[in-house]
Structure formats: C-alpha cells, structure tokens
C-alpha cells in the first residue's frame, strides 16, 4: 500500500490555523482543496456533509480529530488526502470527542485502499499522542509536513503500534 503521508505531501492539500464558522464550513474548506487538486468531485464533499447530517458524526475518530470521508463511489477521482487545522475548534455533535481542531480528509478510489491504506495509517497517526500534539502545535504547512515525515519514518521503521 502507498503511504498516506507521501500522497498528502505530493498533493499539497494542507492548510493550517484556519477559521471555520462551523463543522460544515470546516469540511467544505478542506474538501475544496481535494476538489481543486483533482482528488475528488465536489459531490464527494456534499456526500460527506449529507451523511453527517443523516447518520450523525460517524467520522470523529478521537478527541479533537475528524476524518471526513465518504464512499469511493461518491465521487473520488484519485486516492488522496487533505489536512486542515483550525485556530478555533468547532463542534461536530460528538459528545466524547468535541470540539474538533484537526481534520484529516480521506478519499479512496476503492474499498481496499480505504480499508488497508487510509484507515490504518490515519488511525495510527491519531493513536499517537506525540504526533497529534505536534500537529496541533505546528505553526505552518512546513511544520505539518515535518511532523508527518517523522511519523511516516517511525511507521516504516515499525516503531509504532
């Protein structure tokens, strides 16, 4: 499987310290980066928002961290990712994990890449307090990239998990 970090850095879909009016705004801002880079159609972002409204906060994976995604058939063009950090956290309606200030978007071209690349690698990142705190503290895009490269190196070296 390819690396979530490599794909993310290659697509340059990282935004730091943004301000969002609410959760939907935050998802639209991050989603727009994926659309602009040709990773997904706009309807993919619409699907994420519609799903959230219909079934509730299904993609809040840890305290303060959301992983917005929908199904491959909802308009993914190429497996890819985006990361957004917010200067002011927003509520997603998940009592255990609100408020959210890190959004890690994922869009996989098929179920295999979703379940075997996107999910485990992002879960690994989110399960590490060290890297999550470093992401929160990163002042700019270069800072985020540096943290993610350190994470990817540790993951490759089998130092995590």
């Amino acid at each position: 499987m390819a690396s979530f970090v490599e794909r993310l850095i290659e697509s340059d879909t990282i935004a730091v310290g943004l301000t969002a009016a609410d959760w939907e705004d935050a998802v639209r801002i991050g989603g727009a980066m994926m659309v602009n880079k040709g990773l997904a159609e706009k309807r993919y972002i619409d699907a994420i928002i519609e799903n959230h409204k219909t079934i509730g906060p299904y993609f809040i994976v840890a305290p303060g961290i959301a992983m917005p995604h929908a199904k491959p058939e909802n308009g993914v063009l190429k497996t890819g990712y985006a990361v957004v950090t917010l200067s002011t956290p927003v509520e997603f309606g998940d009592e255990e994990n609100d408020p959210v200030d890190i959004l890690i978007f994922a869009g996989a071209i098929n179920r295999e890449e979703h379940n075997q690349e996107a999910i485990p690698q992002i879960a690994e990142l989110c399960d590490s307090e060290e890297y999550v705190e470093a992401l929160r503290a990163a002042p700019d895009k270069a800072g985020i990239v540096a943290v993610l490269r350190r994470f990817a190196a540790a993951l490759d070296a089998g130092e995590l998990g």
């Binding site: 079934i55 299904y58 993609f59 994976v61 840890a62 992983m67 995604h69 179920r111 295999e112 979703h114 379940n115 075997q116 999910i119 485990p120 992002i122 879960a123 690994e124 989110c126 399960d127 998990g161």
Partner: protein, 88 residues
C-alpha cells in the same frame, strides 16, 4: 472467557462507521472485550486500535469476551461482524 472466531461478512469491513457501531455496542456491556486479527489483539472499546487492524470483508477475526454478560456481548458483536443475511 469465551471466544468466537468468525469471518467478517460485513460488506464494508470494519472501517470507521461500522467500527463506530462496534465500539458503541462494546461499551454497552460490562465484560472485557477484545478483538483479534492474526497475532494482534486490541481492546474492543478503542476505535482507533480497531481501525488500525484494517479489517476487510473476508478477514477472519476472533472475538474474546470475559465477564458477567459475555454471552450476550459475544452474540451482539458477532452480529455486527456478520450482519443478518450476509452469513456465509
């Protein structure tokens, strides 16, 4: 402790949404619940650790429940991994 090894027939595998349902169900029981794939066993109440297993349809996993309501827990959780009508 009781254990059940089964093949995951949930079409979606155990990615975020089904994993979320699984964890919510785990939390309803008093028993200690673990889910294992291969040599890796994780606590049933940890969404991230379950996500890290990268469970897809067709994977064989083991459910391990230990406690006063272990029988009910095993049954309820197996039903999420093998939804009605998808049992082989």
């Amino acid at each position: 402790m009781i254990e059940k090894t089964l093949e995951v027939t949930n079409e979606e595998g155990l990615h975020t949404r089904p994993a979320n349902s699984f964890v919510k169900e785990v939390k309803k029981f008093a028993s200690e619940i673990h889910l294992a794939k291969g040599d890796v066993e994780v606590p049933g109440k940890s969404l991230l650790k379950i996500m890290k297993l990268g469970i897809v349809k067709g994977d064989v996993v083991s459910l391990r429940c230990s406690g006063s309501d272990e029988g009910d827990a095993l049954e309820a959780l197996a039903a999420i991994l093998q939804p009605e009508g998808e049992t082989p």
